[in-house]
Amino acid sequence: MKSGLRLLIHSELLIFFLLISISCSKDKVELTDNGTVQIVSLVASDTILTAWIDTASVEIVATGTGLSYHWACNHGTIRGSGSTIKYTAGECCVGLNTISCRVSNDSSSVSGEIMILITSYFDQ
Protein backbone atom coordinates (compact mmCIF):
# COMPACT_ATOMS: atom_id res chain seq x y z
CA MET A 1 0.00 0.00 0.00
CA LYS A 2 2.79 2.34 0.97
CA SER A 3 4.73 1.64 -2.19
CA GLY A 4 1.55 2.17 -4.22
CA LEU A 5 1.12 5.59 -2.74
CA ARG A 6 4.73 6.48 -3.45
CA LEU A 7 4.31 5.31 -7.01
CA LEU A 8 1.27 7.49 -7.43
CA ILE A 9 3.03 10.54 -6.05
CA HIS A 10 6.08 9.95 -8.18
CA SER A 11 3.88 9.57 -11.23
CA GLU A 12 2.17 12.87 -10.49
CA LEU A 13 5.51 14.63 -10.09
CA LEU A 14 6.86 13.05 -13.26
CA ILE A 15 3.88 14.23 -15.29
CA PHE A 16 4.15 17.68 -13.80
CA PHE A 17 7.81 18.16 -14.63
CA LEU A 18 7.37 16.50 -18.01
CA LEU A 19 4.80 19.14 -18.87
CA ILE A 20 7.23 21.82 -17.82
CA SER A 21 10.06 20.41 -19.90
CA ILE A 22 7.85 20.06 -22.96
CA SER A 23 6.69 23.61 -22.59
CA CYS A 24 10.22 24.94 -22.19
CA SER A 25 11.51 23.26 -25.31
CA LYS A 26 9.48 25.20 -27.84
CA ASP A 27 10.87 25.25 -31.33
CA LYS A 28 12.42 28.62 -32.09
CA VAL A 29 13.73 27.88 -35.54
CA GLU A 30 13.31 30.89 -37.82
CA LEU A 31 13.30 30.92 -41.56
CA THR A 32 15.76 33.30 -43.11
CA ASP A 33 15.09 35.64 -45.97
CA ASN A 34 16.73 34.30 -49.10
CA GLY A 35 15.32 37.05 -51.24
CA THR A 36 12.45 35.25 -52.85
CA VAL A 37 9.89 37.13 -50.79
CA GLN A 38 9.96 40.89 -50.61
CA ILE A 39 7.66 43.38 -48.95
CA VAL A 40 6.63 46.17 -51.30
CA SER A 41 4.52 48.12 -48.84
CA LEU A 42 2.88 47.91 -45.45
CA VAL A 43 0.34 50.65 -44.88
CA ALA A 44 -2.58 51.45 -42.58
CA SER A 45 -5.68 53.43 -43.49
CA ASP A 46 -5.18 55.43 -40.30
CA THR A 47 -2.37 55.50 -37.78
CA ILE A 48 -4.19 57.31 -34.97
CA LEU A 49 -7.26 55.56 -33.64
CA THR A 50 -9.64 56.17 -30.77
CA ALA A 51 -9.95 53.22 -28.45
CA TRP A 52 -13.10 51.16 -28.92
CA ILE A 53 -14.33 53.43 -31.71
CA ASP A 54 -12.00 53.35 -34.69
CA THR A 55 -10.72 50.58 -36.88
CA ALA A 56 -7.79 50.69 -39.28
CA SER A 57 -7.36 48.60 -42.34
CA VAL A 58 -3.77 47.38 -42.62
CA GLU A 59 -2.53 46.02 -45.93
CA ILE A 60 0.71 44.41 -46.85
CA VAL A 61 1.87 43.98 -50.44
CA ALA A 62 4.61 41.48 -51.07
CA THR A 63 6.15 39.75 -54.04
CA GLY A 64 6.70 36.05 -54.27
CA THR A 65 4.77 32.89 -54.85
CA GLY A 66 2.75 30.79 -52.46
CA LEU A 67 2.75 33.50 -49.83
CA SER A 68 1.32 33.11 -46.36
CA TYR A 69 0.79 35.97 -43.94
CA HIS A 70 1.31 35.92 -40.18
CA TRP A 71 0.09 38.95 -38.27
CA ALA A 72 0.71 39.94 -34.69
CA CYS A 73 0.32 43.00 -32.48
CA ASN A 74 1.63 43.73 -29.02
CA HIS A 75 -1.67 45.31 -27.91
CA GLY A 76 -5.09 45.29 -29.50
CA THR A 77 -7.06 42.99 -31.75
CA ILE A 78 -6.50 41.86 -35.30
CA ARG A 79 -9.52 40.72 -37.28
CA GLY A 80 -9.43 38.93 -40.55
CA SER A 81 -6.44 37.28 -42.19
CA GLY A 82 -4.43 37.27 -45.39
CA SER A 83 -2.81 40.33 -46.90
CA THR A 84 -5.32 42.78 -45.42
CA ILE A 85 -6.53 42.83 -41.83
CA LYS A 86 -8.50 45.14 -39.57
CA TYR A 87 -6.90 46.47 -36.41
CA THR A 88 -8.79 47.81 -33.45
CA ALA A 89 -8.05 48.23 -29.76
CA GLY A 90 -9.80 48.84 -26.47
CA GLU A 91 -9.05 51.30 -23.73
CA CYS A 92 -6.61 48.79 -22.30
CA CYS A 93 -4.35 49.34 -25.30
CA VAL A 94 -3.93 53.11 -25.25
CA GLY A 95 -0.45 54.01 -26.46
CA LEU A 96 1.81 53.40 -29.41
CA ASN A 97 1.28 49.86 -30.61
CA THR A 98 3.13 47.73 -33.10
CA ILE A 99 1.47 45.63 -35.78
CA SER A 100 3.84 43.24 -37.45
CA CYS A 101 3.46 40.97 -40.42
CA ARG A 102 5.68 38.11 -41.51
CA VAL A 103 5.29 37.02 -45.10
CA SER A 104 6.67 33.65 -46.00
CA ASN A 105 6.68 30.85 -48.48
CA ASP A 106 8.41 27.50 -48.56
CA SER A 107 11.85 28.97 -48.99
CA SER A 108 11.96 32.35 -47.31
CA SER A 109 10.43 34.76 -44.89
CA VAL A 110 10.50 38.51 -44.37
CA SER A 111 8.89 40.74 -41.76
CA GLY A 112 7.65 44.29 -41.56
CA GLU A 113 5.91 46.38 -38.94
CA ILE A 114 3.87 49.52 -38.59
CA MET A 115 3.03 51.63 -35.56
CA ILE A 116 -0.49 52.77 -34.70
CA LEU A 117 -1.33 55.17 -31.88
CA ILE A 118 -4.40 54.40 -29.80
CA THR A 119 -5.87 57.37 -27.98
CA SER A 120 -8.28 57.20 -25.05
CA TYR A 121 -11.99 56.73 -25.53
CA PHE A 122 -12.48 59.35 -22.84
CA ASP A 123 -10.48 61.97 -24.76
CA GLN A 124 -12.67 61.98 -27.83
Partner: protein
Amino acid sequence: MYRTIFVILLFNLGLLQTAIGQCCSAGNPSAFAFSDHNSVRAKSLLIGASYKYGYSGVYFAGNKPQNVSFGYPASYSFLLLKTAYGISKRINIQLSGGYFLTKKQENPEPYPDDVGQGLADAEINVRYRFFKSMKRKTEFLLSGGLRLPIGVFDLEKNGVKLPITIQPSSGSLVLMTGISAIKSFENSKFRLYGLLNAEFPQLIDSRNFYYRYGNLVNLSLTTTYAVNRFFNTAIQVHAEFRGHATRENDQVISASGYHTVMVSPQLQIDYAQGWSFSVSAEFPVYRYFNGIQLANSFKTGFGLIKKIAPYSKR
Protein backbone atom coordinates in the same frame (compact mmCIF):
# COMPACT_ATOMS: atom_id res chain seq x y z
CA MET B 1 -11.77 13.48 10.64
CA TYR B 2 -11.39 12.57 7.00
CA ARG B 3 -14.89 13.74 6.37
CA THR B 4 -13.89 17.10 7.77
CA ILE B 5 -10.87 17.21 5.51
CA PHE B 6 -13.09 16.37 2.57
CA VAL B 7 -15.55 19.09 3.34
CA ILE B 8 -12.77 21.62 3.59
CA LEU B 9 -11.12 20.56 0.39
CA LEU B 10 -14.31 20.38 -1.61
CA PHE B 11 -15.47 23.78 -0.67
CA ASN B 12 -12.13 25.12 -1.57
CA LEU B 13 -12.07 23.24 -4.82
CA GLY B 14 -14.97 25.42 -5.78
CA LEU B 15 -12.73 28.40 -5.19
CA LEU B 16 -9.98 27.20 -7.40
CA GLN B 17 -10.83 29.46 -10.23
CA THR B 18 -11.42 33.12 -10.19
CA ALA B 19 -11.51 34.84 -13.46
CA ILE B 20 -12.60 38.37 -13.73
CA GLY B 21 -11.55 39.97 -16.93
CA GLN B 22 -8.72 42.37 -16.96
CA CYS B 23 -9.21 44.42 -20.09
CA CYS B 24 -10.71 42.61 -23.00
CA SER B 25 -11.49 39.09 -21.98
CA ALA B 26 -12.81 36.67 -19.43
CA GLY B 27 -9.36 36.60 -17.92
CA ASN B 28 -7.08 33.99 -16.60
CA PRO B 29 -8.45 31.36 -14.26
CA SER B 30 -6.72 30.05 -11.17
CA ALA B 31 -5.94 33.49 -9.86
CA PHE B 32 -5.85 32.07 -6.37
CA ALA B 33 -5.92 28.37 -6.95
CA PHE B 34 -3.25 27.81 -4.39
CA SER B 35 -5.07 29.57 -1.69
CA ASP B 36 -7.56 27.02 -0.55
CA HIS B 37 -7.05 27.03 3.13
CA ASN B 38 -7.49 23.40 3.92
CA SER B 39 -4.83 21.23 5.40
CA VAL B 40 -4.50 17.65 4.26
CA ARG B 41 -3.78 15.03 6.87
CA ALA B 42 -0.28 13.63 6.97
CA LYS B 43 0.38 10.90 4.41
CA SER B 44 -3.01 11.50 2.79
CA LEU B 45 -3.39 12.16 -0.90
CA LEU B 46 -6.25 13.99 -2.50
CA ILE B 47 -6.88 14.14 -6.21
CA GLY B 48 -9.44 16.43 -7.72
CA ALA B 49 -10.77 17.48 -11.08
CA SER B 50 -13.02 20.41 -11.73
CA TYR B 51 -14.71 22.22 -14.58
CA LYS B 52 -15.37 25.92 -14.66
CA TYR B 53 -17.30 28.18 -16.99
CA GLY B 54 -17.14 31.94 -16.87
CA TYR B 55 -18.98 34.56 -18.87
CA SER B 56 -18.30 38.27 -19.22
CA GLY B 57 -20.97 40.28 -20.97
CA VAL B 58 -21.06 43.76 -19.50
CA TYR B 59 -18.63 46.64 -19.80
CA PHE B 60 -17.99 48.72 -16.73
CA ALA B 61 -16.56 52.18 -16.27
CA GLY B 62 -16.02 52.73 -12.58
CA ASN B 63 -18.89 51.02 -10.81
CA LYS B 64 -21.40 51.71 -13.56
CA PRO B 65 -22.28 49.36 -16.40
CA GLN B 66 -21.81 50.90 -19.82
CA ASN B 67 -24.19 50.33 -22.68
CA VAL B 68 -21.60 50.37 -25.44
CA SER B 69 -21.94 49.49 -29.08
CA PHE B 70 -18.39 48.20 -29.41
CA GLY B 71 -18.47 45.60 -26.69
CA TYR B 72 -18.69 41.89 -27.31
CA PRO B 73 -18.90 39.12 -24.72
CA ALA B 74 -16.10 36.82 -23.69
CA SER B 75 -16.20 33.43 -22.00
CA TYR B 76 -14.11 30.43 -21.08
CA SER B 77 -14.42 26.72 -20.32
CA PHE B 78 -11.68 25.34 -18.16
CA LEU B 79 -10.60 22.00 -16.74
CA LEU B 80 -8.37 21.70 -13.71
CA LEU B 81 -6.54 18.74 -12.23
CA LYS B 82 -5.11 19.00 -8.81
CA THR B 83 -3.39 16.84 -6.27
CA ALA B 84 -2.57 17.59 -2.65
CA TYR B 85 -0.40 15.55 -0.31
CA GLY B 86 0.22 15.82 3.40
CA ILE B 87 3.95 15.55 3.85
CA SER B 88 3.53 15.87 7.60
CA LYS B 89 0.96 17.10 10.07
CA ARG B 90 2.00 20.64 9.39
CA ILE B 91 3.15 20.69 5.79
CA ASN B 92 1.12 20.08 2.64
CA ILE B 93 2.13 20.31 -0.97
CA GLN B 94 -0.20 20.90 -3.89
CA LEU B 95 0.27 20.59 -7.61
CA SER B 96 -2.27 21.65 -10.17
CA GLY B 97 -2.54 22.14 -13.88
CA GLY B 98 -5.31 23.22 -16.20
CA TYR B 99 -6.53 23.11 -19.76
CA PHE B 100 -8.67 25.63 -21.57
CA LEU B 101 -11.31 23.90 -23.63
CA THR B 102 -12.14 27.33 -24.98
CA LYS B 103 -11.17 30.87 -24.16
CA LYS B 104 -13.29 33.00 -26.39
CA GLN B 105 -13.66 36.64 -27.32
CA GLU B 106 -16.65 37.23 -29.58
CA ASN B 107 -16.26 39.51 -32.57
CA PRO B 108 -18.69 41.46 -34.74
CA GLU B 109 -19.85 40.06 -38.07
CA PRO B 110 -18.31 38.97 -40.36
CA TYR B 111 -15.28 38.14 -38.24
CA PRO B 112 -15.04 34.80 -36.47
CA ASP B 113 -14.59 34.72 -32.72
CA ASP B 114 -11.08 34.67 -31.30
CA VAL B 115 -10.79 31.31 -29.59
CA GLY B 116 -7.82 30.11 -27.58
CA GLN B 117 -7.45 26.49 -26.56
CA GLY B 118 -4.74 24.48 -24.88
CA LEU B 119 -2.67 23.80 -21.83
CA ALA B 120 -2.85 26.49 -19.17
CA ASP B 121 -0.42 27.23 -16.37
CA ALA B 122 0.65 24.94 -13.55
CA GLU B 123 0.94 25.70 -9.89
CA ILE B 124 2.95 24.39 -7.02
CA ASN B 125 2.13 25.41 -3.49
CA VAL B 126 3.39 24.60 -0.06
CA ARG B 127 1.22 25.18 2.97
CA TYR B 128 2.43 25.27 6.53
CA ARG B 129 0.15 25.06 9.54
CA PHE B 130 1.81 27.28 12.11
CA PHE B 131 -0.92 27.36 14.71
CA LYS B 132 -3.56 24.92 15.88
CA SER B 133 -5.62 25.06 19.03
CA MET B 134 -7.86 22.12 19.83
CA LYS B 135 -9.38 24.09 22.67
CA ARG B 136 -10.35 27.01 20.46
CA LYS B 137 -10.94 24.82 17.42
CA THR B 138 -8.87 27.16 15.37
CA GLU B 139 -5.95 26.78 13.01
CA PHE B 140 -3.88 29.10 10.87
CA LEU B 141 -1.85 28.28 7.79
CA LEU B 142 0.74 30.10 5.73
CA SER B 143 1.17 29.31 2.08
CA GLY B 144 3.55 30.16 -0.69
CA GLY B 145 3.87 29.05 -4.24
CA LEU B 146 4.53 29.63 -7.87
CA ARG B 147 2.38 29.65 -10.96
CA LEU B 148 4.50 28.46 -13.83
CA PRO B 149 3.77 29.63 -17.38
CA ILE B 150 4.09 26.20 -18.95
CA GLY B 151 0.97 26.53 -21.05
CA VAL B 152 0.28 27.58 -24.60
CA PHE B 153 1.34 31.13 -25.30
CA ASP B 154 1.80 33.12 -28.51
CA LEU B 155 -1.04 31.04 -29.94
CA GLU B 156 -1.89 31.84 -33.55
CA LYS B 157 -5.08 31.16 -35.50
CA ASN B 158 -5.41 31.58 -39.26
CA GLY B 159 -2.15 33.44 -39.42
CA VAL B 160 -3.04 35.92 -36.69
CA LYS B 161 -1.59 35.99 -33.20
CA LEU B 162 -4.40 35.90 -30.65
CA PRO B 163 -4.63 38.73 -28.11
CA ILE B 164 -2.83 38.22 -24.84
CA THR B 165 -6.12 37.83 -22.98
CA ILE B 166 -7.11 34.87 -25.15
CA GLN B 167 -3.83 33.01 -24.78
CA PRO B 168 -4.31 29.89 -22.61
CA SER B 169 -1.22 30.63 -20.54
CA SER B 170 -0.80 33.84 -18.59
CA GLY B 171 2.69 34.00 -20.04
CA SER B 172 4.38 34.99 -16.83
CA LEU B 173 5.69 33.53 -13.62
CA VAL B 174 3.47 34.44 -10.68
CA LEU B 175 4.63 34.50 -7.07
CA MET B 176 1.97 33.75 -4.51
CA THR B 177 1.68 33.97 -0.76
CA GLY B 178 -1.18 33.84 1.69
CA ILE B 179 -2.55 33.18 5.12
CA SER B 180 -5.73 31.34 5.97
CA ALA B 181 -7.70 30.44 9.04
CA ILE B 182 -10.25 27.78 9.95
CA LYS B 183 -12.62 28.10 12.87
CA SER B 184 -14.97 25.41 14.15
CA PHE B 185 -17.56 25.62 16.89
CA GLU B 186 -18.50 23.27 19.68
CA ASN B 187 -21.57 21.18 18.81
CA SER B 188 -22.22 23.21 15.72
CA LYS B 189 -22.66 22.31 12.09
CA PHE B 190 -21.16 25.61 11.03
CA ARG B 191 -17.54 26.25 10.21
CA LEU B 192 -15.79 29.44 9.15
CA TYR B 193 -12.89 29.94 6.78
CA GLY B 194 -10.94 33.08 6.13
CA LEU B 195 -8.33 33.73 3.51
CA LEU B 196 -6.03 36.54 2.57
CA ASN B 197 -3.56 36.08 -0.23
CA ALA B 198 -1.60 38.01 -2.78
CA GLU B 199 -0.20 37.32 -6.23
CA PHE B 200 2.70 39.07 -7.86
CA PRO B 201 2.81 38.49 -11.62
CA GLN B 202 6.19 38.92 -13.25
CA LEU B 203 6.88 40.60 -16.56
CA ILE B 204 5.74 38.96 -19.78
CA ASP B 205 8.52 39.54 -22.26
CA SER B 206 7.79 37.28 -25.20
CA ARG B 207 8.32 37.71 -28.92
CA ASN B 208 4.99 39.53 -29.22
CA PHE B 209 4.07 40.75 -25.79
CA TYR B 210 5.63 43.01 -23.21
CA TYR B 211 3.23 43.27 -20.34
CA ARG B 212 2.88 42.86 -16.63
CA TYR B 213 -0.45 42.17 -14.98
CA GLY B 214 -1.18 44.11 -11.83
CA ASN B 215 -0.71 42.56 -8.43
CA LEU B 216 -3.71 40.80 -7.01
CA VAL B 217 -5.05 40.59 -3.46
CA ASN B 218 -7.84 38.19 -2.53
CA LEU B 219 -9.88 38.24 0.63
CA SER B 220 -12.55 35.63 1.18
CA LEU B 221 -14.80 34.55 4.02
CA THR B 222 -16.66 31.27 3.81
CA THR B 223 -19.27 29.70 6.03
CA THR B 224 -20.10 26.03 5.66
CA TYR B 225 -23.08 24.17 7.05
CA ALA B 226 -23.37 20.40 7.22
CA VAL B 227 -26.99 19.58 6.38
CA ASN B 228 -26.50 15.87 6.99
CA ARG B 229 -23.83 13.26 6.40
CA PHE B 230 -24.26 13.52 2.62
CA PHE B 231 -24.88 17.20 1.96
CA ASN B 232 -22.85 20.23 2.87
CA THR B 233 -23.59 23.78 1.84
CA ALA B 234 -21.46 26.89 1.85
CA ILE B 235 -21.68 30.54 1.10
CA GLN B 236 -18.63 32.59 0.32
CA VAL B 237 -18.00 36.30 0.04
CA HIS B 238 -14.92 37.04 -1.99
CA ALA B 239 -13.29 40.42 -2.54
CA GLU B 240 -10.64 40.86 -5.20
CA PHE B 241 -8.32 43.80 -5.72
CA ARG B 242 -6.24 43.97 -8.90
CA GLY B 243 -3.68 46.72 -9.43
CA HIS B 244 -2.83 48.47 -12.67
CA ALA B 245 -1.00 46.61 -15.38
CA THR B 246 2.07 48.04 -17.07
CA ARG B 247 3.41 47.85 -20.60
CA GLU B 248 6.47 49.03 -22.52
CA ASN B 249 8.61 51.70 -20.84
CA ASP B 250 6.79 51.05 -17.56
CA GLN B 251 3.74 52.81 -18.92
CA VAL B 252 0.83 52.29 -16.54
CA ILE B 253 -2.31 51.10 -18.27
CA SER B 254 -5.03 53.26 -16.83
CA ALA B 255 -7.82 50.98 -18.06
CA SER B 256 -6.63 48.05 -16.01
CA GLY B 257 -7.16 46.96 -12.45
CA TYR B 258 -10.39 46.62 -10.55
CA HIS B 259 -11.94 45.67 -7.28
CA THR B 260 -14.93 43.42 -6.99
CA VAL B 261 -17.00 41.59 -4.43
CA MET B 262 -18.52 38.27 -5.40
CA VAL B 263 -20.90 35.91 -3.63
CA SER B 264 -20.65 32.20 -4.20
CA PRO B 265 -23.13 29.54 -3.05
CA GLN B 266 -21.75 26.01 -3.07
CA LEU B 267 -23.01 22.49 -2.51
CA GLN B 268 -21.04 19.34 -1.84
CA ILE B 269 -22.30 15.77 -1.93
CA ASP B 270 -20.49 12.77 -0.44
CA TYR B 271 -21.88 9.96 -2.51
CA ALA B 272 -19.45 7.11 -2.07
CA GLN B 273 -16.54 6.03 0.05
CA GLY B 274 -13.81 8.52 -0.56
CA TRP B 275 -15.62 10.26 -3.40
CA SER B 276 -17.33 13.62 -3.38
CA PHE B 277 -18.95 15.94 -5.87
CA SER B 278 -19.34 19.69 -5.60
CA VAL B 279 -21.09 22.37 -7.56
CA SER B 280 -20.73 26.12 -7.24
CA ALA B 281 -21.69 29.42 -8.79
CA GLU B 282 -20.39 32.95 -8.35
CA PHE B 283 -22.14 36.24 -8.88
CA PRO B 284 -20.86 39.79 -8.53
CA VAL B 285 -22.44 42.08 -5.99
CA TYR B 286 -20.05 44.98 -6.47
CA ARG B 287 -17.71 45.81 -9.33
CA TYR B 288 -15.42 48.75 -9.88
CA PHE B 289 -13.22 48.87 -12.98
CA ASN B 290 -10.63 51.48 -13.85
CA GLY B 291 -11.22 53.05 -17.23
CA ILE B 292 -13.63 50.92 -19.19
CA GLN B 293 -13.34 47.15 -19.12
CA LEU B 294 -15.27 43.99 -19.74
CA ALA B 295 -16.51 42.65 -16.40
CA ASN B 296 -17.28 39.12 -15.36
CA SER B 297 -21.02 38.38 -15.17
CA PHE B 298 -21.01 34.98 -13.56
CA LYS B 299 -19.02 31.81 -13.05
CA THR B 300 -20.18 28.30 -12.42
CA GLY B 301 -18.56 24.93 -12.12
CA PHE B 302 -18.44 21.51 -10.60
CA GLY B 303 -15.75 19.29 -9.19
CA LEU B 304 -15.00 15.72 -8.31
CA ILE B 305 -12.56 14.63 -5.65
CA LYS B 306 -11.09 11.37 -4.42
CA LYS B 307 -9.35 10.83 -1.14
CA ILE B 308 -6.62 8.28 -0.83
CA ALA B 309 -5.58 7.71 2.75
CA PRO B 310 -3.91 4.31 2.81
CA TYR B 311 -3.05 4.25 6.49
CA SER B 312 -6.19 5.72 7.92
CA LYS B 313 -7.89 2.46 8.77
CA ARG B 314 -5.06 0.49 10.16
